[in-house]
């Protein structure tokens, strides 16, 4: 191996998805991916799972929803409004691709930090 293979060799690697790369959103996606494929979780429960304030979680969910990664469903249970969140297929795939990209980075350039790799 040449002493400095990074700049050209790594150009072909998949770049990291910026929607998921933000740490709090990654945490939300990990929690949603831990559920089964058609499972849904209520807003307060998800809040407890990821340990965020309601406002913070709302902000990140809006971005994940805008990217088409999660579905946010408002419904009623015994006349009380409940919001259920689930990871849709696109989001699940994005998460799979994200971890695959990390593994590819790790295999090719374990000495680089993620920040250095991502523009």
């Amino acid at each position: 191996m040449s002493p400095d293979p990074a700049p050209d060799a790594l150009r072909d690697l998949p770049s990291l998805d910026p929607v998921i790369h933000a740490q709090p959103r990654l945490r939300v996606v990990v929690a949603l991916a831990a559920l089964g494929e058609e499972d849904q979780v209520s807003f307060p429960r998800l809040q407890q799972l990821v340990g965020m304030t309601a406002g913070n979680l709302s902000t990140h969910l809006r971005k994940l929803e805008a990217a088409g990664y999660v579905r946010v469903e408002k419904t009623y249970q015994h006349r009380t409004p409940v919001t259920y969140i689930s990871l849709v297929r696109t989001g699940r795939r994005a998460f799979e691709d994200y971890t695959a990209a990390l593994q590819a980075l790790l295999a090719d350039a374990p000495h680089l930090t993620t920040r250095e790799r991502v523009p």
């Binding site: 933000a22 990990v30 089964g36 849904q40 209520s42 429960r45 790790l106 680089l112 993620t114």
Partner: protein, 225 residues
């Protein structure tokens, strides 16, 4: 339609937007979050296992001592049944909480599987109670019933552990179930009060051993989190 640019852009207020980590650190973070989420979502079976283990150890142990043929039996049979009943009720409460609590706010298929499996415990033990009641009503004498019901109760619990092991592909739970089924069957060869001793030590002991194993198995995971 996607708003990647906007999301990754400078409008994002939070300072921890990127992980300043190596890919390895990121992967480890994901792994530990996933483990923690799974633990919160699927509960901690070792608590319920330990609860039933202690209930069987104490309850059947008390039954053994109470129905011992030595004149020094420390307490009458009703005390033993009370201990078994109270300990079982406590274990039942722990099991129920352990099934219901992690599932709150979750709807969907995986939740349904857990609920159906949970209900089957209640259904099966209620049916077993009626089966034994039917035998008693039909005149099976109490001395013979005491040879029968303890082994049966343990065998049926083992059947449900075996089924749970197959369901969640958990080898340890499956083996525990197989062991428990065999202990329940073997106990009847010992007669009373030997059957109580077998069920207390091998049955309750097996559950407690697996609960300890599960805790030990989780320890390295905790240090990594």
């Amino acid at each position: 339609m996607l708003v990647h640019g906007d999301i990754a852009g400078i409008a994002d207020p939070e300072p921890d937007r990127d992980q300043a980590n190596s890919p390895q650190a990121s992967l480890e973070l994901i792994h530990s979050w996933r483990r923690e989420a799974a633990r919160r979502l699927f509960g901690t079976p070792e608590l319920a296992l330990a609860g039933w283990g202690v209930a069987w150890l104490l309850g059947f142990g008390a039954c053994c001592l109470a129905s011992s043929s030595t004149p020094r039996a420390a307490f009458p049979a009703w005390v033993a049944y009370l201990i078994l009943g109270v300990a079982s009720a406590a274990a039942g409460v722990i099991s129920t909480v352990e099934t219901v609590h992690p599932g709150r706010g979750i709807i969907g298929p995986s939740r349904r599987v857990a609920l159906w499996y949970g209900w089957s415990w209640g259904l099966v033990y209620a049916a077993l109670f009626f089966l034994i009641l039917g035998l008693a009503v039909q005149g099976l004498p109490p001395a013979l019933l005491a040879r029968l019901w303890p082994g049966l109760a343990v065998l049926v619990g083992g059947v449900l552990y075996v089924a749970g092991g197959a369901l969640w592909q958990d080898r340890l739970l499956y083996l525990l179930g197989a062991w428990t089924v065999m202990v329940g069957a073997a106990s009847t060869f010992a007669g009373t009060p030997g059957n109580f001793a077998v069920l207390s030590l091998a049955g309750g002991g097996g559950l407690i051993a697996v609960a300890i194993l599960l805790v030990l198995r989780r320890l390295p995971g905790r240090s990594g989190a």
